[in-house]
Amino acid sequence: MMRMCRFFAAALLATTAGAAGAADLTLNVEIPNLPVAEYHRPYVAIWVEDGTQAIAAHLALWYQVRGDHTKWLPDLRQWWRRGGRDVKVPVDGLTGATRPAGQHILKFDAAAEPLSKLKPGRYELVVEAVREVGGREAVRIPFEWPIKAAQKGAAQGKTELGAVALTLNP
């Protein structure tokens, strides 16, 4: 099932990437494989922040969807305080189940919500991860909006996140 999903995602990516003139934001997030006795998949929040440190666009929220575990969402401390606390989960297209260690590719159409609502300016893409009985980490990648030319940005997590790469295609 998992493999199927990945296959479709890859196929979808390939198709969208091929479409001419569709500006997009692509994000590659690595969840590291951690050799710990008790491992739980991390909660991860991904958002776009403006100069006032408020959330300009929510991009993704991965948490323990099955059962009632929203109690732990404030552990994504920065996401929570900057606007996560006002999000009524679950949200279509935003929230999803926690993901396993490995590479995760996310792609967002610049012309579709939530990115289409961004005003021109400097932003930061933030990825925050927190793990039960583990740690918390957030990484930031600055970028300019709208996408006038191709932009690339990267950040390296040290504990809860691996490499995070941002690509903006005009």
């Binding site: 929203t70 109690k71 404030p74 920065q78 305080r81 606390r85 006002d86």
Partner: protein, 265 residues
């Protein structure tokens, strides 16, 4: 044994108004995702922050106000030997203000060559102090020991308007290490200027230096704190003046304490 007697004697001599030990509330949690849960509080008087190793704080004057200032009844209120404790059910989202606040009058006078003393509310004063009391000394003692808990998004903390109090400019449940937070102090609803404010991080038992941050309010009663590290902090301020708000009383002490939680950025 002799020391014990001296200690007892000292206790009697010390004016009841001086709270030797620090008064604090300790919340089990300050930021809660959603309503429907519980938080628990300890209340104690002790110099070590936040170790209950001296005495329980009486919780007779405990009050909890939810969003819109509506009172919320704490549950399982218990007074132990070293601490008091209580639970709070978080039925609605918003900010809860949890306070032990009092407004008392202390009286001292001479009667038949003996020292008499009395402590009670301003309303009970007339019935307990003789009208012709000799060498009567009166003092109003206001105090407020509080902390805050927020469920979901923070809501405004409105001023009480009496005695010394903190009015948040930065919400007390939105404090992060390395960030600056501003608070305004009011005395009877007006800015308390040039007020010394002391802020001490919890865990005093595990370090040698008190590491207190000493601040002073500006003309608007404002302080700016840049939190040096994460953790629980105890904030302390006190005013001694001649502006008692009880008729017939001049001297006043108004004390304020808050427990604030600072999180990692």
């Amino acid at each position: 044994m002799k020391y014990a007697k001296i200690a007892v004697a000292l206790l009697v001599i010390a004016p009841a108004a001086s709270f030797a030990a620090r008064a604090w509330l300790l919340p089990s949690q300050t930021i809660v995702a959603r309503n429907g849960g519980w938080v628990t509080f300890d209340a104690a008087n002790s110099d070590d922050l936040f170790s209950f190793n001296q005495g329980a704080m009486p919780v007779d004057s405990l009050s909890v106000n939810g969003v819109d200032g509506a009172p919320v009844a704490p549950q399982n209120v218990a007074r132990g030997k070293t601490r008091s404790s209580f639970d709070l059910e978080l039925r609605a989202p918003g900010t809860y203000r949890v306070a032990i606040a009092g407004d008392m009058v202390m009286a001292r006078w001479e009667e038949g060559g003996k020292q008499k003393r009395w402590r009670g509310t301003p309303a009970e004063m007339a019935a307990n102090i003789p009208a012709n009391a000799a060498r009567l000394e009166l003092e109003q003692v206001q105090r407020r020991v509080e902390t805050f808990v927020t469920v979901g998004s923070p809501s405004d903390v409105k001023p009480v308007g009496a005695g010394l109090e903190l009015v948040p400019v930065r919400h007390p449940n939105d404090l992060y290490a390395g960030e600056a937070a501003r608070f305004r102090f009011l005395l009877d609803g007006k800015p308390a200027r040039d007020l010394p404010v002391e802020i001490i991080a919890g865990g005093t038992r595990y370090r040698d230096a008190p590491a207190a941050v000493e601040l002073k309010t500006d003309a608007d009663g404002m302080i700016t704190v840049t939190w040096p590290a994460t953790g629980l902090y105890w904030l302390d301020a006190e005013v001694k003046d001649e502006n008692a708000t009880v008729p017939g009383v001049k001297k006043r002490t108004s004390a304020y304490n808050a427990t604030l939680e600072v999180l990692p950025q």
